[in-house]
């Protein structure tokens, strides 16, 4: 059974978003990390990159497969979690603490496309 954290917004492709003013903090859900298994590498964008809602901005690698990360909102990458470069397993240990990127959001209206914790829990059967 995977954990869905309250107070976050979720995308169809299993990213979570926490808003801090105009900045979106983005990670992947517990469901996503458990489906992937042991994560061995996080492919992250560079600071300053522009990302587009629904487009891939990076990927997670497990032993067996790679899985693209899709931007839940459009904006500019202002920070990447460099801790994940040496310790990608932090995403397995606590996916809601191990954020991946922070994005200066260009259009907050896009957040309406995301799911609430309750809606996401229903989707993944949590």
């Amino acid at each position: 059974m995977s954990i869905v954290k309250e107070g976050l917004m979720y995308s169809e492709s299993h990213e979570w978003v926490r808003m801090d003013g105009d900045v979106a903090i983005i990670g992947v859900s517990d469901f996503a990390q458990s489906e992937m298994g042991d994560i061995t590498y996080v492919d992250m964008p560079d600071e300053g990159d522009a990302i587009e809602q629904g487009e891939d901005f990076g990927a997670l690698e497990s032993v067996k497969a790679s899985s693209e990360l899709y931007a839940p909102v459009s904006g500019t990458v202002i920070a990447c979690n460099t801790e994940l470069e040496d310790a990608p397993e932090l995403i397995n240990k606590d996916p809601y603490a191990a954020w991946i990127i922070k994005v200066q959001v260009s259009d907050k209206a896009q957040l309406a496309a995301l799911m609430s914790a309750a809606a996401y829990a229903q989707k993944v059967g949590a």
């Binding site: 298994g37 042991d38 061995t40 590498y41 492919d43 690698e61 032993v63 067996k64 790679s66 470069e85």
Partner: protein, 367 residues
């Protein structure tokens, strides 16, 4: 959609909560406790695999030896009972029908067991029958009569003796086997494997396979799935048919000429291999080690620094034992020399690496 075939251990896998997936037409276990955990168990202690999906063909009769020598790249003449050889069956153009093991059975007149890949059972059997015309022999597909489990890892010899009570394992050298019985059923005990570690493969009846498996699992031996079977064979530098060998990738291209005896009078595909040897193949299989941890996967392009494509990845992982991103790749022969810098295109970026030996992991076989 075709119905998936089941091995004799299918129910046991479900009971263990295995993650299952279709492979080569069978519903097979990919992992139980996790690929990393199972991989490390085999490297450091032992693990047991269900490999009952593998195919077995028995060939006997007056012309058996001449026939096997005709369709197989390695030298079969003079094989003693208990000997095992690895090699390939080729098409006349040098492309690979399959790679396989040939067992010289314990019988007075030469008789052989050919162990073939699950994905190729029908194709191989049809191929063998088509080549067998005019040979006085009996050719039987026994794939459904033989179950097979692989006990792999440094503790295998001890487990075989102490858990299964099989004493014949200790004196066996690598790539030899005995035919014996276990609790009344026939057993082929073979010191072989696909992991780079010491270990045994046990061929028995479906019922006996279930009992062997249960006895090992009840004694605490770790069940291992096809996920770590692939990571283990990859580190040990072993090819997988469809990736490193295929109708398009010959053993000369794959660097497996040592299993093709070009001094034999003849075998199917010999002339093509001789020509490839003389002219040098257009492409060669190499190992590539990346400088960063991005993971190369099958199908990713191999490039020069300026983006010129020179090849393709056939298998790649972030190696669990070596903690390094590694792959096999088929590249233009001009770029196959050791230490050649090559780039692999992974999603939006190219990652620098260099050509290294394919046997990434030092194997630990019983000499």
């Amino acid at each position: 959609m075709e119905t998936l075939k089941l091995t004799p251990l299918h129910e046991a896998h479900l009971a263990l909560g295995a993650k299952m997936s279709p492979f080569a037409g069978f519903d097979m276990p990919i992992s139980y406790s996790g690929i990393v955990d199972e991989h490390n168990a085999v490297r450091n202690a032992a693990g047991v695999f269900d490999v009952s999906h593998m195919g077995e063909v028995e060939i006997s009769g007056p012309a058996a030896e001449a026939f096997v020598n005709h369709i197989f790249t390695n030298e079969v003449r003079g094989m003693q009972p208990g000997a095992i050889l690895y090699g390939m069956m080729l098409y006349p153009d040098g492309g690979v029908v399959d790679d396989l093991l040939v067992y010289r059975l314990f019988s007075e007149a030469p008789a052989f067991l050919l162990v073939i890949n699950a994905s190729n059972i029908e194709k191989d059997y049809d191929w063998m029958r088509a080549q067998a015309e005019g040979y006085d022999l009996s050719l039987r597909n026994r794939s459904e009569q033989w179950g097979q489990i692989a006990l792999q890892g440094p503790d295998s010899e001890k487990i075989l003796a102490e858990v299964l009570g099989i004493k014949e394992g200790e004196p066996l050298r690598f790539y030899t086997f005995v035919q014996t019985t276990w609790r009344g059923d026939p057993l082929i005990l073979s010191r072989t494997g696909y992991t780079g570690e010491d270990g045994f493969e046990l061929y028995s009846t479906p019922a006996s396979t279930r009992l062997l498996w249960k006895t090992l699992i009840d004694a605490g031996v770790k069940p291992c799935g096809l996920g770590c079977r692939d990571t283990l064979r990859f580190e040990a530098g072993m090819p997988l048919y469809g990736h490193e060998l295929s109708e398009e990738i010959s053993p000369v291209m794959a660097g497996l000429s040592m299993f093709c005896k070009l001094d034999k009078d003849e075998f199917i595909g010999k002339e093509a291999l001789v020509a490839q040897k003389e002219n040098g193949p257009a492409r060669r299989l190499v190992g590539i080690a990346l400088e960063e941890n991005a993971v190369p996967r099958a199908g990713y392009p191999v490039e020069l620094e300026d983006g010129t494509p020179v090849g393709v990845v056939t298998t790649g992982y972030h190696s669990l034992t070596l903690d390094k991103s590694l792959c096999f790749a088929l590249v233009d022969s001009a770029y196959a020399a050791l230490d050649t810098p090559l780039w692999i295109h992974i999603r939006r970026h190219s990652f620098r690496g260099s050509v290294v030996r394919k046997n990434f992991y030092k194997t630990n076989y019983k000499k």
